[in-house]
Each structure stands twice: as structure tokens, then as C-alpha cells.
């Protein structure tokens, strides 16, 4: 059983780097290609999460708990960001009746 666990967890740090940067790039593509504001915010969440996972991986690699505390702070920040962002989205939708990001090119009502 112990052997199985160590087998399960023994992944080179390099692979975590590649995996997390792939997810990050997917998030960037989502921001660049979609027009729906909510999906753009979801892509930002994806990017934040990939960085979180990488911080946790480095923390486990170095045996330092500070990385995981940082992830905790990033989660708090993401919650605040989502709350304010969605409030802004609701306000924009109330004024323009659309979720298209191009409707924000004219900020004047």
C-alpha cells in the first residue's frame, strides 16, 4: 500500500510545470476568443486555478507551507473578484441587455 501511495505521488516537478502552463494557455485562449463576459471571467478563474495548483506543487516540492498559504489568499481574492465582477456584469446587462463584451466599448449610457 505504501508503495502504491509513493508510486501515485512521484511525479516530476517538470510535469506539473507543463500541465499548469497548458491550463493557463487554455485560459488565455478562452479570454481571447470568446465574447461572453461570463465565459471570459470563467477563463480567468481557470488561469487562477492553474497558478494555484503550481504553487501547491512547489510547496510540496520544497516542503514549505508558505506556498499553500498563498493559495489560500489567492482563493479569497478570487472570491472577492468574482463577487464584484458579477455585480458589474449584472449592472451592464441591465443597461445594455446583452452580455457581449463589445457592448462595453461605449461606456456612456
Amino acid at each position: 500500500m505504501d508503495n502504491f501511495i509513493t508510486n501515485l505521488q512521484g511525479v516530476p516537478l517538470q510535469h506539473y510545470l507543463i500541465f499548469c502552463s497548458t491550463i493557463f494557455a487554455i485560459g488565455v485562449v478562452g479570454v481571447l476568443t470568446r465574447r461572453n463576459v461570463i465565459i471570459i471571467m470563467m477563463s480567468i478563474e481557470l488561469m487562477l486555478n492553474s497558478v494555484n495548483l503550481l504553487l501547491a506543487a512547489f510547496s510540496a516540492h520544497h516542503g514549505d507551507a508558505a506556498g499553500q498559504v498563498f493559495v489560500f489568499f489567492i482563493m479569497a481574492l478570487a472570491a472577492a473578484e468574482v463577487a464584484v465582477g458579477l455585480a458589474i456584469v449584472i449592472m451592464v446587462y441591465r443597461n445594455t441587455k446583452s452580455l457581449d463584451i463589445d457592448s462595453l466599448t461605449k461606456l456612456r449610457l
Binding site: T6, L8, Q9, G10, V11, P12, L13, H15, Y16, F19, S21, A25, I26, G27, V28, V29, L32, T33, R34, R35, N36, I38, I39, M42, N49, N52, L53, A56, A57, S59, A60, G63, A65, A66, Q68, V69, V71, F72, F73, M75, A76, L77, A78, A79, A80, E81, V82, A83, V84, L86, A87, I88, I90, M91, Y93, R94, T96, K97, L99, D100
Partner: protein, 169 residues
Amino acid sequence: MSFFYLVAFLSVIFSLMTIFTKNPVHSVLYLVITFFTFTVHYIMLNAQFLAVVNFIVYMGAIMVLFLFVLMLLNLNKDTEPMKSPLVKVMGAIAGMCLLATFLGAFRALEQSDVLIKPHENIGLVENLGKVLFGEFLLPFELSSILLLTAMVGAVLLAKHEKGVKKQHG
């Protein structure tokens, strides 16, 4: 060891589907599955506290908030006009360039075959709590102020103002 690659593959697939699905509600559901695979990753890293927090805060709170807003806005018809194909192709190319840059930078790093051996008890609540309330006490309190500010701001922004005349009926 192969379990990591299976879960990583699933994460990549579901995050791709998050981006390329037309329907926003399906997109949110795929993102929930992606976050679930991230939770599995945290468990494999023996970061149990982060796994639980990721599960509760991200999948439970933030994604439900997204779903709630989507349903509140009543987007029955496909309201999203897609971007022109040129812009989409350019966005995809830019993202792939970013990925290629990352991978090239990682190749330049020295190849270390050090396997990640998760520490025994670094991710446990007791240990993290000691660090959080000792070394990181000031940022912790500041983040509480941040959350309060965000809450007040969200309520103020989303509140229906009586004095403002509505533009489109």
C-alpha cells in the same frame, strides 16, 4: 504515477470543453468538473486543507454564483454572437505562442528528475493554521478587509437604484 497523467488529461479535456462549448450553462458545468479534477490533484499532493477549500469555495460557492447569475440573466436564446473567425484564429495562435514560450523556457531549465514527495503533514489544517496565524497574520486580517469591501461593493453595484431612470424599459 500514471494516475496523475490520467487526471491531468481529464483536466485539459474539460477545460478545453469549457472554452469551446456554445451554451454558457454547459460551460459552467464543465468548469465545475475541471475544478473537481483540480481537487483530486490537491489530494495527490497531500494538500488536504486546500482540497477541501477548493471543493467548498470554488465548486460550491463560486461556480454556483456563476450559474445563478447566468440563470438570473435569462439567456434562453443563444445571445452570443461569435467573434469573426479571423479574431478566433488569431486568439488561438496567440495562446499557442504563449504555451510554446513556456515550454521552451522549461526546456532551458535543467532537467531535474526529482520526484515530488509530498511532505507528511504540511498540508494539514493544524500545520497550515499555525503558519497562517503566526507568520501570515497581517495578510490574513487584510484579506478579511478585502472581502468586506468586495461584499459592500457588490451589493452597491447590483442594487437597483431608484433614482436612475432606466434606459431600455
